[in-house]
């Protein structure tokens, strides 16, 4: 039904989400800065891509621009975002609204503020059905109760009338996920879905996401700064630094043989590799201010391999093996070290 306007029928293998050269500019009081600079990646149905990076690297901004939810101070200035074959950046507001829910959906991180505090949760869960399927209030409410049952809310019929503040953090996140998958989207973006939760609940939420993904054959973009989550849950990873994707590839390969010094720095700083009595290993320095990103390689100031060339020429993402790429002049050398 929903794919009637889309060239790629579900399941024929084309990527469900294809981002190319995405650029986002951010207007700040001290001038315009580029928050996302030429980001690109692909995700197929049923697969999970982790967008990995530290705070402020542009991963959430990337997610919001894919979903068309940027604040007015931010603007997409280039690139393309194809969702099931349609370039959503070329669609108008109304066209994007049609896709929001049935084709592309997003789960936010803070479930307390992401649910409307003055509306019963049942009504909020019913909203996608009301908007996109034109269902009656009663039918939509039935659907909402079904969804609540599916994501494991006890006594769903009763709890549908409750308000967000009457749920625990984990239950709220379940509600948010239920709302996002309500219309069986092709692509689901999860923006740090477990950040606000304690560890045991985190595991439950990740399991729920995985089950829903398998059951509905969704392409999942998992935005996170948690290396363990990436290792356990993702098929592919795109590592972001200062608005750029510096390395992409299958998780197992990227994590065992990183081809970008930043990826390697991140992996080395996992405390498992630490030696008792020595300071924890870390990537020295801090990411550049967005207003002062150097003209050459964005990582040069913190890179142990940096040479003169890195200050002058920005490395482009280059293929470094089957479905792998890295944006480093010395990725070959890095592999040999």
């Amino acid at each position: 039904m929903k794919s009637s306007t889309l060239p790629t029928p579900a399941g024929t293998g084309g990527p469900a989400l294809e981002v190319e050269g995405l650029c986002v500019d951010l207007r700040t009081p001290s001038g315009t800065v580029r928050a996302v600079n030429g980001v690109g990646f692909q995700v197929r149905k049923g697969r999970t891509l982790a967008l990995l990076g530290e705070s402020g690297c542009g991963k959430s901004m990337t997610a919001l621009s894919i979903a068309g939810l940027l604040d007015p101070t931010a603007e997409v200035t280039g690139g393309s975002v194809k969702v099931s074959g349609t370039d959503v950046l070329r669609l108008g507001q109304a066209g994007r609204r049609k896709l929001a829910g049935p084709v592309l959906s997003i789960v936010f991180q803070d479930a307390l503020t992401a649910l409307n505090p003055v509306q019963p949760v049942g009504r909020q869960l019913a909203e996608p059905f009301r908007i996109h399927r034109g269902m009656s209030r009663r039918d939509a409410r039935e659907k909402a109760v079904e969804l609540m049952t599916r994501v494991g809310i006890p006594e769903p019929r009763l709890r549908a009338r409750a308000y967000p503040h009457q749920f625990s953090g984990g239950m709220r996140q379940r509600l948010l996920i239920a709302m996002a998958v309500a219309l069986d989207p092709d692509v689901l973006i999860a923006d740090e879905p477990t950040t606000a939760l304690d560890v045991t609940v985190q595991a439950q939420i990740m399991r729920l996401l995985r089950d829903l993904q398998t059951e509905r054959d969704m392409a999942l973009v998992l935005i996170t700064h948690d290396l363990a989550v990436v290792a356990q849950r993702a098929d592919d990873v795109a590592v972001m630094y200062a608005g750029n994707v510096v390395e992409t590839g299958p998780v197992a390969e990227v994590f065992s043989r990183p081809r970008h010094p930043y990826t390697r720095g991140l992996l080395d700083s996992v405390p498992e590799h630490a030696v008792r009595g020595r300071p924890l290993p870390a990537v020295p320095g801090s990411p550049p201010e967005l207003s002062a990103v150097p003209s050459g390689c964005v990582f040069q100031a913190r890179c142990p391999l940096a040479q003169e060339r890195c200050a002058q020429e920005r490395p482009r993402p280059m293929s470094v093996g089957a479905s792998r790429s890295a944006a480093c002049h010395f990725s070959e050398e890095l592999d040999r070290v």
Binding site: L69, R97, A100, N116, P117, V118, Q119
Partner: protein
């Protein structure tokens, strides 16, 4: 909800007692009515008779006791000026003010919701800037100045509107309401804009948009109800301020409302009427505050739950 109401009423009753005491004492600081009502040539004998007839010869605590016990029976004494019962004079004047204030607040709130929401939907747009300038100006204009200039321009100069009085068609409402309206409207536009900007940038609005909700649904379905709480609080405060405004407006435009009644009874040391008028005003303000609280509870489930059953 009923226990919420009961608690709220009880906690309002205590300050009410202090208002009654305060007005009783302050009124007596304005001087003795005997000097005002009897001619200078009155004999001490006549003065003593007048005092005795109206109870002014009793000590202050005795007068207070009489006042309180009578008030408890809803007897507020008689007016020195007219000989009418103070209670009925106040009740006659009250609806005039209530109409004026009610109409004013209704227009102010509806207007502010419209202008404030428009301004908030696109912050820093042209509409937003114009609304900001206008509301700031409106909130800063003194009401007595606006009223006098209004009478001068539209009443005397252009002769479009009556200068004062309550005889005539709808045109008699224009200047009094405009005078009362201008400040609450200006303040409320700013409040609506502020809380709407906050609500529209809240994560749940992003979520609503991620479900494909159109702007109308986003503003009216999600943001409005969340942004109305501070608006109600401020509107309640402003309504209380209208009592002040009513004194000015009713005096300038000669409306027989409670504001004018209060001023007249102060000038003429008509204690009984003054006390009754202030008491009724105070009760109205307390009722208003309770109403605002009830509205909060109806709008926000978190407020409802915060009240222990």
């Amino acid at each position: 909800m009923t226990s919420f109401l009961r608690k709220r009423i009880i906690s309002s009753a205590i300050p009410l007692v202090f208002v009654v005491l305060g007005v009783f004492c302050l009124a007596r600081l304005t001087g003795s009515p005997v000097d005002l009502y009897l001619p200078l040539s009155a004999t001490p004998q006549q003065r003593a008779e007048f005092s005795a007839a109206h109870g002014f010869d009793d000590s202050i605590p005795v007068q207070l006791w009489d006042y309180l016990t009578n008030a408890a029976r809803l007897d507020f004494g008689t007016s020195l000026r007219t000989g009418e019962s103070a209670g009925s004079m106040v009740l006659k004047a009250f609806p005039v003010t209530l109409q004026l204030a009610g109409m004013t607040m209704l227009l102010a709130i509806l207007g502010a919701l419209l202008v404030g929401s428009l301004a908030a939907y696109r912050p820093n747009s042209l509409i937003d800037r114009i609304a900001g300038l206008l509301s700031m100006t409106a909130a800063s204009i003194p009401d007595f100045w606006f009223a006098i200039v209004g009478v001068l321009v539209f009443g005397v100069g252009l002769d479009w509107l009556p200068t004062s009085g309550t005889l005539g068609g709808p045109e008699i409402w224009v200047l009094p309401i405009a005078t009362l309206l201008i400040r609450p409207f200006g303040v409320l536009v700013q409040v609506v804009r502020g809380s709407m900007v906050g609500a529209l940038s809240a994560p749940y609005v992003k979520v609503a948009r991620s479900k494909g909700a159109d702007p109308k649904r986003v503003v009216f379905g999600h943001a409005l109800r969340n942004s109305i709480t501070p608006v109600l609080t401020v509107a309640g405060d402003l309504t209380v301020g209208l009592v002040n405004g009513a004194v000015v407006v009713e005096t300038i435009f000669g409306w027989p409302g409670i504001g004018k009644l209060m001023i007249d009874s102060i000038l003429q040391r008509d204690f009984a009427v003054l006390q009754a008028a202030v008491l009724l005003t105070a009760v109205t303000i307390f009722a208003l505050n309770i109403l605002v609280d009830v509205c909060h509870a109806l709008i926000d489930p978190r407020v409802r739950q915060a009240v222990p059953a």
